[in-house]
Every structure is written in C-alpha cells, then in structure tokens.
Amino acid sequence: MMRILTITAIILLIGFILIQLYPVEKPAFVENNPDDLIINSEIPANIKSILKTSCYDCHSNETIYPWYSNIAPVKWLVYKDIIEGRKAANFSNWAKLSDDDKMDLLYDMAEEVQDGDMPMAVYIANHSDAKLDSIQKNEFSNWAESLADEL
C-alpha cells in the first residue's frame, strides 16, 4: 500500500516537473506605454484606481503576475486570459485607437462592469481587491458612458 502511494507521488511529481518544460509564451510586461489611457486622459482618482486594480492586469501591458501565475498548469489559463483580454481591449494602446473604437469599447465597458461580467469571477476569486461594489460599478459605468458621449 505504502509502495503504491510512493510510486504515485513520484509519478505525479515527475509529471508536474515535466509540464513546466512545456513552452508557452508569456504576455510581455511593458513598463513605458506612451499611448496609455491614464497617461493621455484626465481621469478622476477613483476611476484611475478601479482601472489599475480591477482591469489593468489583463487589459494593459502592465500585467502584475502573482507567483502562482508562472507555474503550469495555472499559467496556461492565466496567460490565455491575458492574451484574450489584451486583444479585446488594451488600455496601453488607447491613444492609437480611433474615436469610433474608443466609443465602442467605452460603452461595452460600462455595460459589462454594470452587469458584473467584468472583472471576471475567476480574477476576483484571486484578487479580492478587484471586486467592485455597486457604488463603484455605477461610478465606473457613468464615467465610461460620459467619456464616450463626449468623444
């Protein structure tokens, strides 16, 4: 019995080490983003802090990776979400977008945050400070809508 357990543990350990070798590309961290939304717009402090703590890990080049996010198999899921997040909306490239694209994103943001679709549940589960209460959701949505209306 003891032997079976030991062998299983060894196999699992070897498997765990082996999957670490499987190459996946890590979405790059870029420190200087001259086209960034926050740099290029006048944004109220409360909204700035929501953007930074609840959005920027997946929707900018300034991703802060927690230690566990670099270990397989977690990293496969985390990297995939970040790649998809940046593709859908990357605030580091804000100034390069057309007004139409900015508008479309801002209205989407307002709706998705209001509905609780963003930030994603799996992200909130691991980043409790990213969770938005109903007041923050309203503030954020109103800000995004009015910025889009003014474009």
Partner: protein
C-alpha cells in the same frame, strides 16, 4: 385540485404573455430627433422594422425578460432619446458586427427556442446596410 387550477392559471398567463411578446410591433416608421441642437434624424423604415420585430425585439426592448440583451441594446431607448448620438452610432456599428460580420445574433439558443424568428441572409444584409448607412448619416452631421 386547487394546485392543478393554479398551475393552469400560471400556464395560461405564460402563454398569453408569450403571445403578446411575440406580437410586439413598432407599427410605424420611426424618425427620432436625436439632438436638440441639430436636425439629425435617425430612421427605422418599415422594412427594417419588420426584420427587427421578427428577430430582435424579444430580447432588445425595455419589456424584455432578457436582462443582458436589453442592457446591450434597447431599441426603445434607441428611439426615445435615452441614448446619446454617440451611443446610437456605436450601437449601429455593433448591429453590423453581430448581424453581418460575426453572425452571432440572434443567438443559437434563441433560434433553438424560436426557430420561426430566424433571420435570412438577405435580411441580415438589409439590416446591416441600414445600420451602416444610419451610422454614416450621423457621422456626417458631426463633422
């Protein structure tokens, strides 16, 4: 016996409300003045209304039970002045995107439940061309 009767009442109510929901119509051409400052109008001609009534209104009006659907696009708000000009323009672009480019509207789930509300390829094209054209009209007034 009493429970049976109340179940019958509930079923009747559901059937009646489904009947009314599916018959909801914008009966006339809608021309909405979208800004007080200029004479920009946003028009839904009769042929477009027919398509919208058939394949879109069940989720995209204020009375809809589909919360997500009506948050994303609410035709009532689009025509009654609740949406800003930019929001109308953005929603028109979205209509083209989901109806013509991605073709993910109406959703598969919706069409499974209401196969009679399917949208033909011709209607997709008509709807999308209308949306892009209205969008262009709005942009022209903003320049």
């Amino acid at each position: 016996m009493k429970t049976l009767k109340s179940i019958q009442v509930v079923i009747a109510a559901v059937v009646v409300s489904i009947f009314f929901m599916s018959n909801q119509k914008y009966s006339e051409t809608i021309i909405t003045k979208i800004s007080d400052s200029d004479s920009t109008t946003f028009t839904i001609p009769a042929n477009i209304q027919t398509i919208i009534d058939k394949s879109c209104v069940m989720c995209h009006t204020t009375e809809s039970k589909n919360f997500k659907g009506k948050t994303k696009l609410n035709f009532d708000k689009m025509i009654n002045g609740s949406y800003s000009i930019n929001k109308i323009a953005s929603k028109l672009r979205k209509i083209d995107k989901v109806v013509m480019i991605k073709k993910n509207m109406p959703t598969k789930k919706f069409l499974k439940n209401y196969p009679d509300k399917a949208i033909s390829d011709t209607d997709r094209k008509t709807l999308s061309e209308w949306a892009l054209n209205e969008n262009k009209k709005i942009k022209a007034t903003q320049e």
